[in-house]
């Protein structure tokens, strides 16, 4: 199976960002992408569409839930919301990621050893 969202990111990164964003507030797909792009100052090059397979995985694992609603621009959209399990999952993933990042940073840090 092809995993396009992994082209530029490590596995699970996109899901983590989605969960983090949804923790702030429930959003629909388009707003979610815009938020991630904006927040990352367009540093992360992701295909907007790759958001959807990731969202489906999160839905299946019941880390998020979705409901049809009306967006701020008066469109009929599906709004994603973090579940309790999703919130816990995010916490775990973030702490794991921080450990990993710390390790990578140490290895990459010049001249200490």
């Amino acid at each position: 199976m092809k995993k396009q969202e992994q082209r530029d990111l490590f596995p699970g990164a996109l899901e983590m960002m989605i969960l983090r964003t949804l923790k702030r507030q429930p959003l629909h797909g388009y707003a979610l992408v815009q938020h991630i792009k904006r927040t990352s100052d367009d540093l992360l090059q992701i295909e907007e569409g790759s958001l959807y397979p990731a969202l489906q995985r999160l839905l299946k694992e019941e880390l998020v839930k979705a409901e049809w609603g009306i967006s701020a621009t008066n469109r009929r959209v599906r709004i994603y919301k973090l579940t309790l399990a999703g919130s816990k999952h995010l916490q775990r993933e973030v702490s794991r990621f921080e450990k990993m990042l710390e390790g990578i940073t140490r290895v990459l840090a010049p001249g200490e050893s």
Partner: protein, 897 residues
């Protein structure tokens, strides 16, 4: 159930997804347009930044799918479509498999019910049959059951054994029940204490016969079978405690055994206690069947050792009377040979069933070979399709799986149809099968059989699917795309698989046909044996019991029997009538004992050879058609006059005095104080125990026995077989006239075991004819499948070689050459198959040696005849395509490209 909910709501989820993605694009476009981009430009940008919509959608959907299973269902759907597209192929293949599987399932259900399942008693594995042999007892080998137990043996064994929880003896009998409705003859089992404890099946109502019921001269009690209770009393529980009159003796009903309870393998109506009196027992009286329940953990070897230990105790504890040596039985070398009860019930039918199962299995293999051949042809024609699929990116594993799914589906379709056939087959078997097949009532198609059928369907599907699948879908098949035309001639290797299959089919067909042929020879051999009676079809039999009343007059009872004979003979169309203890092969327990000749010297400490005893009325031999070789028959004057005369069989006369005529006038007696009887007739040998068994040495006594000088009254046979010779034997009209005749003498006498001698004879060869029928069916199926196989292969090669044949003809080959070429190919296959088949058949036939009679397992005539027949038919099958080859028009064939 979560996955189920997911599965059901999936379509909506997919729609949501599409809508959502479209919404995303729309929103983006709107925004870009609002920012001043042209709509066209905006659409392009939005699509670029979104990525591949279709691929994203697919990936999103994949999240929800259970991939391997769904691919499998796709394969199933595809397979079904392919099967539907080629209905002729599908129907032929499914029918072939269905017949194969149906036959196998039917036979398996019989094997499973009869051989594999435990008997229907609690802990049936502990039950044993107390079989004994006595190799030192001359004459005993004539009796099927070995040495039965005597009451004194039972009493000793049950008192002194260390390996049994319980043991008991029983004997079957018949009796008249009067006072209910019409007088009726019922089947009686007389049991000792310990029998019911051993079988351990609780009663359906009331209680078991208890030890108290076994006390001699105690109250007379009886248990009923469920069937008899239902038939006579409508399952009325209030009959407990009531009396029924059995052989003029009222007995109190104490209990009913449950439905389906069989006494080892006998059906019965009532159970009565034996009431042995220990004070009156002697060593002899070997007439009882013994069964026992082993203690947990005890083995049969230990039980045998236990009985061996008790035999001296038995000889020390009992006697045959004053001045007799109890240890005389040591010369008999009595040896316990305890068998599992199941083995005793199944008897010698197991080898028949295994032979049938094996042959049916072979038929299944042949059917699979045929379907494989069909599939090979089909896959060959589908090569382009497979190559295209492979070119489009299907891995070869996936293609193999697809093909296997298809063939397994064929197998399953065949299996479903096969189960239907099996149901019909089992019904047919129950109707036509040997009536004496043990546990017949237990045969059914159960979960085990269905499981076996499912397994067989899947396995056969895999078996015949694997060969074509691996052959054509293996790596490197993409070549086929290029060579997909007809121009490439078929490679040798492709032929090899098909040829091997045909050779295998021919071999198996030969083996089965040889087995069937040997059985035909056996039946023919059996038919030529002189059984000691003639024209069995026109001999009517019936059994009548005249209960001996205490102090009753035996002469009066004999007059009653005589009167019945006279009335029977007065029926129009009846040539003659008579009675005797039994007709040959009727299967009633035989009477046997020693016999002493006046002019021979017998050693004191040896038991003389045992001889079969029969009691007959005057005219019995003549009515049955048993020839009198020397001397004459009994007369009624001699019977009523209690004259000491006797007849003997030819083999006994020859053994004692050399020739039949030398035996006339010699004198015999039964025991020391018995009167001497003069031999007045020597009678043809009679195969009493079946045509396959040797005729026993037999002594024919008069039915009325007594000594005018003895104060004790004479004795007569209570139960006898009446035999009537008439062209009308077996007809209802004769039967009702017989009934009238009997009831005009005594209206209380029921007629039992009414049948013709042909029925009795048929039953005695039922095992052989059943085997023959099964083998003949299997052989015919195998031959038909084999012939279709060889025809298919040859005609397919001819169609493939049309161009080559066209060239040959164009170059001047004569049509005779072409026919010869094709026939040679067929003959080669047939010959190789037949040669291998001969080897297989030699092995198979060896297994059935015990079923054969009058023919060896390697009978050259059968082998030669079957081989010739098979080769001829194979050549005939090849001749049809060969003629087609001959008619190939060279021009047409060459232009074909």
């Amino acid at each position: 159930m979560n996955w189920l909910k997911q599965l059901l709501s999936r379509r909506r989820a997919y729609d949501d997804l599409s809508n959502e993605m479209q919404g995303h694009l729309d929103e983006k476009i709107e925004e870009l347009v609002a920012a001043g981009t042209s709509r066209k430009e905006a659409t392009a940008v939005a699509r670029r930044e979104f990525g591949n919509v279709t691929s994203m959608e697919e990936d999103s959907r994949d999240v929800w799918r259970w991939l391997s299973i769904e691919n499998f269902f796709t394969d199933v759907r595809y397979g079904l479509r392919m099967l539907r597209r080629n209905p002729v192929f599908t129907v032929v293949a499914v029918l072939t498999i269905a017949i194969g599987i149906g036959a196998n399932a039917a036979v398996f259900s019989v094997v499973n019910s009869v051989l594999l399942k435990p008997l229907r008693y609690p802990h049936a594995e502990e039950l044993v049959f107390l079989h004994q042999t006595a190799p030192g007892a001359a004459g005993l080998t004539d009796f099927e059951n070995g040495l039965l137990l005597s009451p004194s043996m039972y009493l000793t064994y049950s008192q002194h054994n260390r390996t049994f929880q319980s043991l008991g003896v029983w004997v079957t009998d018949t009796a008249n029940v009067t006072g209910l409705a019409e007088p009726e003859q019922v089947r009686v089992v007389a049991i000792s204490d310990g029998i019911l404890q051993t079988l351990d099946v609780p009663p359906a109502a009331g209680r078991w016969l208890s030890q108290a019921d076994q006390v001699p001269h105690g109250p007379d009690r009886v248990m009923l079978s469920f069937g008899y209770w239902q038939r006579q009393f409508g399952r009325d529980r209030s009959v407990m405690g009531r009396n029924i009159v059995i052989d003029s003796r009222p007995r109190e009903i104490v209990g009913v055994m449950p439905l389906g309870f069989r006494f080892v393998d006998t059906d019965y109506d009532v159970i009565v206690p034996l009431q042995f009196d220990p004070a009156k027992q002697i060593l002899a009286g070997f007439g009882f069947h013994g069964i026992a329940r082993l203690k947990p953990g005890a083995t049969i070897a230990e039980a045998n050792a236990d009985i061996t230990r008790m035999l001296p105790i038995w000889m020390d504890s009992w006697s045959n009377g004053p001045k007799t040596n109890p240890h005389i039985y040591e010369t008999w070398r009595i040896t316990p040979m305890i068998r599992p009860l199941k083995q005793e019930v199944i008897g010698n039918v197991s080898e028949v069933l295994w032979v049938v199962m094996g042959t049916i299995g072979l038929v299944m293999l042949i059917a699979c070979a045929n379907v494989t051949n069909l599939l090979l042809v089909r896959v060959e024609s589908r090569q382009q399709e497979l190559a295209v699929r492979s070119a489009l990116g299907a891995g070869w594993g996936r293609i193999v799986r697809g093909l296997l799914v298809e063939s397994v589906m064929l197998g399953l379709l065949g299996g479903v149809l096969g189960v239907g056939l099996a149901f019909a087959g089992v019904r047919l078997l129950l109707v036509t099968g040997p009536a004496n097949l043990p546990r017949l009532s237990e045969i059914s198609i159960d979960a085990g059989t269905l499981g076996f059928t499912l397994l067989l369907s899947v396995l056969s599907g895999l078996l015949f699917g694997l060969i074509p699948a691996l052959k054509y879908a293996g790596p490197g098949t993409s070549l086929a795309l290029r060579s997909a035309g007809r121009t490439i001639s078929i490679s040798r290797e492709r032929h090899r698989a098909r040829n091997l299959l045909v050779v295998g089919q021919m071999a198996m067909a030969l083996a089965l046909l040889v087995s069937a042929g040997l059985m035909i020879r056996t039946i023919r051999a059996l038919r030529t044996v002189e059984p000691g009676f003639i024209d069995a079809r026109h001999l009517q039999l019936m059994r009548i019991t005249i209960p001996g009343l205490p102090g009753g007059d035996a002469i009066q009872a004999t007059r009653m029997q005589n009167e019945i004979v006279d009335k029977l003979e007065a029926i129009p169309g009846v040539k003659s009538a008579a009675f005797g203890s039994e007709m040959p092969m009727e299967g009633f327990d035989s009477d046997w004992d020693e016999i002493f000749a006046e002019d021979k010297v017998y050693s004191e400490d040896q038991i003389a050879p045992l001889r079969l005893y029969k009691h007959v009325s005057p005219g019995f031999l003549q009515t049955a058609g048993t020839r009198i070789i020397a001397g004459r028959d009994l007369t009624w004057e001699e019977v009523y006059g209690l004259r000491p005369v006797v007849m003997i069989s030819e083999n006994l006369a020859r053994e004692m005095w050399g020739t039949p005529s030398a035996a006339l006038g010699k004198r015999l007696r039964e025991f020391n104080s018995a009167p001497w009887h003069e031999v007045i007739g020597v009678v043809q040998n009679v195969r009493e125990h079946g045509v396959q068994e040797k005729a026993p040495e037999t002594v024919y006594w008069a039915s009325l026995q007594g000594n005018p000088d003895d104060p004790r009254p004479p004795s007569f046979l209570e139960t006898v077989t009446f035999v009537i010779r008439s062209e009308r034997a077996g007809t209802q009209s004769l039967l009702s006239e017989m009934r009238q005749a009997v009831w005009s003498v005594n209206s209380n006498l029921p007629l039992a075991s009414v049948r013709t001698m042909e029925d009795v004879y048929g039953k005695s060869v039922a095992r052989t004819s059943f085997t023959l029928v099964m083998l003949a069916i299997a052989g015919a199926m195998a031959m038909a499948l084999g012939i279709i196989g060889i025809y298919g292969v040859i005609s397919y090669t001819v169609s493939q070689r049309k161009r080559e044949i066209g060239i040959r003809l164009a170059l001047g080959a004569q049509s005779g050459d072409v026919v010869g070429m094709v026939l040679r190919q067929g003959a080669k296959l047939a010959l190789v198959g037949v040669s291998i088949g001969v080897v297989v058949a030699l092995g198979l036939a060896r297994l059935m040696t015990s079923l054969l009679f009058g023919v060896t397992s390697h009978d050259p005539l059968t082998f030669a005849a079957v081989a010739t027949l098979l080769i001829l038919i194979a050549l005939l099958a090849c001749y049809i395509p060969a003629r087609r080859a001959m008619k190939v028009d060279p021009m047409v064939a060459l232009r074909y490209e």
